[in-house]
Homo-oligomer: 465 residues x 2
């Protein structure tokens, strides 16, 4: 690095151009370092560094004692790799794939996360810098099987704030909230089992259950939680092994469980062997904590799940689960068998960011911005006769009905062509009864084009009705 970077870059560019023009053919030897230095009028050390960097990039290969050789050809990245897959069927993975694969210029009111500039930038950069100076073992070694003791202790304390009594040894860290649910499914389910989900619910629950070859049974979700009577009916009829739901803010409706429904639900399942997975990923968005099933039940039959992909970073992967003590050993064994370690670096960065004294203030600000945007976006949508089904107490989602029974999948496909990714209702619905709904993420609606493109697609969809 101390050497002249520009000269090194020049040598690298020269070699790259030679390979591209096939002056240097794949498999052949590059001019020796000494020759090349003479040819280009550079120092030997400059050429050595350039060759080493090209070797690090894989463009050339160093054969000890024999010099540097041009590596075999590699097909170029397809130009269309990033960009909408217009022909993909609208299935439970449609929204994820379209959101994750879209180019930077795409607008994503359908995605489930905050824009980068809403995140706790200062805190994450601070954590990374501290990590770069930290003990070497933290940077190179595996985490312990349960995961960072400090982070697990902090999570136990955070859960205590929502009334859940849990010891840090009951907390296992995972790569993501999704991986935590996946491990629970592996631990408890066998193909053909029945699993209750909310209708509508987070679309990835459908994709996950399909991967486990189990049958999802939908229970209609009301503004106070699942419909208790229909839940009871499904319980009797299907003897489900698992119920997967959100804690706190419900995805996609933004509703929250009432204490009454929570209590009734737990009474209903008393005599069954149903296990409940409660995904608490939106906890830090709540203005006031809704009741947690895990708190009412003392983690007897409830497993609590969470992650930080919505509040700290989706790039730094870290999730967790909390469960009754006697299940933890088996879950740890499963985790090791199927992914081996979990990232210690990610755990340490999350712990540093969560304990940064600025985190709470940052989240206060995020909640305030969300509330303001919620109001604004609801108004804009109503003007297009897109009606929110309820006004959520908190969070980023607005679950809306389209005018005149317009087909949300058709609207979403039309908007995708214009660079706007939407989240059509039936991706969330087991019964496919949300065909005229869309989920909007109010943090991703700042660009006016969202509403312009939506308006055009809607007028096409409702023309002649």
């Amino acid at each position: 690095m101390a050497r002249n970077g520009t000269l090194i870059q020049q040598v690298m560019a020269h070699v790259r151009a030679g390979i591209a023009s096939r002056s240097y053919l794949p498999g052949t030897r590059l001019p020796s370092v000494r020759q090349q230095a003479g040819l280009l009028g550079m120092s030997v050390s400059t050429v050595v560094e350039a060759y080493e960097r090209l070797a690090a990039e894989g463009l050339v290969v160093a054969r000890p004692g024999a010099g540097f050789y041009v590596n075999g050809p590699v097909a170029p990245l397809a130009l269309l790799e990033l960009g909408p897959k217009l022909d993909r069927v609208v299935d439970p993975l449609w929204v994820s794939r379209q959101s994750l694969e879209s180019a930077q210029t795409t607008l994503r009111p359908g995605c489930g996360w905050l824009p980068p500039d809403w995140m706790f930038e200062e805190g994450i950069r601070r954590a990374l810098r501290a990590q770069a100076r930290g003990p070497l073992a933290e940077l190179t070694e595996y985490a312990t099987p349960l995961g960072s003791p400090g982070l697990r202790q902090l999570l136990a304390r955070r859960m205590a704030a929502t009334g859940i009594e849990v010891s840090p040894e009951q907390v296992m860290l995972t790569e993501s909230g999704t991986q935590a649910i996946d491990l629970v499914c592996r631990f408890l389910l066998k193909p053909g089992d029945k699993v209750l989900v909310d209708d509508p619910c987070y679309f990835n629950f459908h994709a996950l259950l399909k991967a486990h070859q189990v049958k999802a049974v939908g229970v209609p979700y009301t503004p106070q939680g699942p419909d208790v009577q229909l839940f009871d009916k499904a319980l009797q009829e299907h003897q489900p092994r698992l119920y997967i739901t959100n804690a706190g803010i419900h995805n996609p409706t933004g509703a929250a469980l009432s204490p009454l429904v929570a209590h009734r639900l737990l009474k209903l399942v008393e005599s069954s062997d149903l296990v409940i997975v409660e995904d608490d990923i939106f906890a830090d968005f709540e203005n006031q904590h809704a009741p947690r099933l895990a708190a009412f039940d003392g983690l007897a039959r409830v497993i609590q799940i969470g992650s930080f992909s919505k509040t700290i970073s989706a790039s730094v992967r870290c999730g967790y689960l909390a469960a009754r003590p006697e299940w933890i050993e088996g879950l740890v064994d499963l985790k090791l068998a199927t992914t081996f370690g979990v990232g210690r670096l990610a755990q340490d960065i999350i712990l540093k960011t969560l304990t940064d004294s600025g985190y709470r203030k940052h989240m206060d600000l995020v909640r305030q911005r969300l509330a303001e945007n919620m109001e604004k976006v609801a108004q804009r949508l109503r003007k297009l006769r897109v009606e929110p089904a309820l006004v959520p107490q908190a969070g980023m989602f607005l679950w809306c009905r389209l005018p005149q029974g317009a087909d949300a999948a058709a609207v979403a496909r039309a908007c995708l062509k214009d660079g706007v990714v939407l989240a059509p209702g039936n991706s969330f619905s087991q019964s496919q009864s949300a065909g005229d709904y869309l989920r909007f993420n109010v943090s991703q609606c700042a660009d006016e084009r969202v509403f312009a493109v939506l308006a055009r697609a809607l007028s096409q969809a409702t023309a002649g009705r």
Copy 2:
């Protein structure tokens, strides 16, 4: 941070002590910021910062407008959480659990990774610092479904160096090599299927296959690769769906596939529908590349797997798989359904470290150190009549036979009591025919106590024979 850190720490210590002595009871309100400042003779801003940090740690909870409250009690971390589990049965996960759970003072000649001070410290710290300054989206957003295009392009080039022609679109990034194999198993296997493994093989293959409820069938491994005749016999008898093996350096024996065996193997499976998973995790330890099945076969029926946990970091999780193009879509869907994203941060750090011009020189040094240690450790073991079954060409493993048929599991249990984690042979063996073998990691044998403790355990195990 600009404020007086020591004073803030004092206030925090004061509150912690008050909670520990139950002067501040769980659920009760702390003195107001103003009161506390008066009581301690500190400024209000110092107390605010201290309270905020305690809130970030979860010890107290901030209720907007109402002050700070003591959080509920959390059980302390069990004192024995770190430490050997002496009563655990020696199963395929025994070595992993004992190695990962052991305290810092434990010696780990049985583990499968290099000590921290052998790793590319400078490169990793450089990558982290660059990351801390990098674009915000890299720090907060999900990766694309396939993973970082730059890293996939580099991996395609690296594979070209071992003769594997592959386009970057055939490469999918995962959380780890293990997760990549797990996804392949989910994609191709159903419960009850048969899977061929080497006998002995990496113990986690056994644990993984058990999690998939499939039957592992062992094929004896020779110094040139699997025994071809017995492989053929197993193929006819069991119609296996998958064969999982190492590319290059074999774990645990250190042997390498010969071109002759590779060719015969691929001829044998020509008329079957067997898929081969080749785990290339030790590629950068080779002095000379052994033949790759994926190169001979052109990724038609071979899936190549790899990761960086042995060469760059086990703390930064990133693995990959390369497979025929038409399998990639399904594998991406499965990955999203079961873990959602994969860490973009980890991918960016690995890319930066691999393309650091110092990486190749660092690995040259590691290979040299390993060769020296291999020689030294083999000598030390021979003095204890512990005989290497073969002298590996490269890598960190030495597969050794104990004198007089001593029971390796008993020896391992005895050594564990003295703080030394060994890797007993039957953890690796499907047929349980390696009861008098141990696998040694020559990079983890620098401490003399390894040999002293081993000598004592061996003399007990062989006494009276």
